[in-house]
Amino acid sequence: MRRGLRHSPAALAGATIIALILALAFAAPWLAPYEPTRPDLAQRLQAPSSAHLLGTDGLGRDVLSRLLYGARPTLALVALVAAGMVPIGLTAGIVAGYYGGWLERVLMGFTSIVMAFPRLILALAFVGMLGPGLINAALALLLTSWPAYARLARAETQTLRRSDYLAAAEMQGIVGSRLLWGHVLPACVPGTQVRLALDLAGIVLAAAALGFLGLGVQPPTAEWGLMIAEGSKVVFDQWWLAAIPGAAIFMLAIAFNLLADGLRDLGDPTHD
Amino acid sequence: MGFATSVILRMTEPPLLCVEGLSVHAGRGPGRRTLVEDLSLCVAVERVALVGESGSGKSLTARALLGLLPPGLSCEAARLEFAGRDLRACTPRAWAALRGASLALILQDPRHALNPALNVERQLDEILRLHGSLGRAQRRERIAAMLEAVGLPPSARILAAYPHELSGGMGQRVMIAMMLINGPRLLIADEPTSALDAGLREQVLELIATLVATRHMGLLLISHDLQSVARHCERVLIMYRGRIVDHCPAAELARSSHPYTRTLWSCRPSGSTYGTPLPTLDRDALDARLGR
């Protein structure tokens, strides 16, 4: 599995784009020509020019600077969601799959309930209750996304239980948490990696959707979804204000898709 | 070249399969590994066994003969002929017409070779339709006759069974039926009994040998159990690390002077070997002898 990203052009391309966007977001304070939130009403709605490479928005703010800074909330949100949903999902799934019985029924019943709701609607409801903002949006997406990992981990754990690995480990006296984290968890990793990369593409879009609806970070902070919302008001005359952040979101989502595709191929022993 | 020539001179019938200088490689360029080296053999209307340990290259040889090498492996041969036809020049379409019709392959585990989504009758029917133009009633007759020939009653229960519902022995019989139903001239059987219980192995090998004899076919039987194939084959070729190192008629195996053959023959456990260590291969000495 660790054959290196070199062996899959898709994974390599995806990883490169993500790394690039990460680097640009990190280096935004040095690269951005202007302050992202500084309005300049005299320069409103300018087309791309040598002074403003990507033009200005409705409040005269430089689009390029906002684009670079705007990557940060999106990436932060994606990272928060990933860091939350994977541990929660895997823990629930492994515990359910290993111990079985009523614990499994309760946990899996819970995941079924959560999975029955469309993710975005449920996230909207959460944010509606908790109020808008980056942390709340991340929490909302996290709480609606962990069930898939629980299911995955449970299926892997159940397969493992039937195999001789666990019987052999038990005979060596390896039990309890050492067994679950040292032996069962590693078996869940390949499936989780692929699922995560694919999910993140969807999370990027969901985060942008929440931002578009004004439920993510609040103005004047730059955020791609928010920029699309603001740009959609003038989309017929200054089309680039909505198109450019849209293209950025598109690139990031595609990059995660490519990475997921490549990781799936790398993990598949029959793929050359 | 030496083995093949001497073997040809001893045969009275023209060979069905003739191979000279077959080599199988993995990879390209300087890192290329040779998995089968300069292999020559011939099979006429007779039963020939190819015996060796895992990793000796015997399964790869079988696959190369049928054009079924996995991607990443390549093969070349000075001569590769089946019934007078040059197999090296075969297009994929030509291969598809040959396999299942004139050339047949039985594999080790029927559960991996049979289509899990089709029942027995449909699998046999499919292969008949692929290679022939018999009418429905005729196909049904053939299927029933073939199942009886492999020792399975052609009952409704068997015909409707799916591969996972069959026991190991039954699954293997279905695979044999499937492969022989189109009347091939040559059967290659790659470890056909390794996945079966010891008790069933003799039965299945006996079945294969009988069918091959009554249908006037050639058989290339690949195995790692020398004593077992010796009972059912006329000639034995022994492979080690990609090369044929010995060949002899089955009747003379017990008296062979080649150290590898002698050890393979006598390493089988039994009631009389209790308490004594079994003969094992001295691989270093064998490698030295082969000049590696």
């Binding site: 195999s163 060596q172 | 340990e53 895992s54 010891a198 159990d225 456990p269 009631g271 209790y274």
Partner: protein, 233 residues
């Protein structure tokens, strides 16, 4: 001296009303120091019996006395009993964790039981099964079938068991490699004064390895075969 004494051992499964017995009121007696065989077709219950003796299958009922301890149904093995009973599985590829190196697979049971000098013991264990200690860094898929089975045997011996259970240990191996493994098992049995219980579908292996053997069918022991009869196999 009886190492294993089992009376009316029964293992059932299935929904109430449709219970099937894998082991059917089976009686078993194994003497310390002997090599005892269990032979029969697939599905006769021999592997299940072995797993009951291993403490892996705890759904049995009846009476079982193992290594001078009376066991209660459902009881897991711990301490001396856990260390004293070890098993070599049929398919080493399925019993060695694919993502753990050989070194880790051997070191883990030692550290769980608080044994010191782990590295030396791992190297010694590999030498004992005639493997190069340098293989400790490899993953199971990088080893041949015979090498993997040797690692499994090394792992089973690490905790110095009195009883070694073997579930078709050579079924997945070539005849020539099987000969090597059987020789190794006999040698290790002598050196470590162990009792072996060996399951196999191959009567030849049983006849070579065992002092006595039980023929099983449908969850019962049909008869016990002694050395004189095994000699004729």
């Amino acid at each position: 001296m009886s190492l294993i004494h089992g009376e009316t051992l029964t293992v059932e499964f299935g929904a109430p009303g449709e219970r099937r017995r894998i082991l059917d009121a089976l009686d078993l007696e194994v003497v310390e120091g002997e090599s005892f065989g269990l032979v029969g077709r697939s599905g006769c219950g021999k592997s299940t019996l072995l797993r009951v003796l291993a403490g892996v299958n705890r759904t049995w009922t009846g009476k079982l006395r193992l290594l001078d301890r009376n066991l209660v149904p459902g009881q897991g093995f711990a301490g001396d009993l856990r260390r004293g009973v070890q098993m070599v599985f049929q398919d080493p590829y399925a019993s060695l964790h694919p993502r753990h190196t050989v070194g880790r697979a051997l070191a883990e049971p030692l550290s769980v039981h608080g044994v010191s000098g782990v590295d030396e013991r791992v190297a010694a264990a590999l030498c004992e099964v005639k493997l190069d200690p340098g293989l400790a860094g490899r993953l199971p898929r990088q080893l041949s079938g015979g090498q993997r089975q040797r690692v499994s045997i090394a792992r089973a011996l690490l905790l110095q068991p009195r009883l070694l259970l073997l579930d078709e240990p050579t079924a997945a191996l070539d005849l020539s490699v099987q000969a090597e493994i059987l020789n190794l098992l006999n040698q290790l049995k002598r050196e470590h004064a162990m009792t072996l219980v060996l399951v196999s579908h191959d009567p030849d292996v049983i006849a070579h390895m065992c002092d006595r053997a039980a023929e099983m069918d449908a969850g019962r022991i049909v008869r016990i075969v002694g050395r004189s009869e095994l000699r004729r196999v």
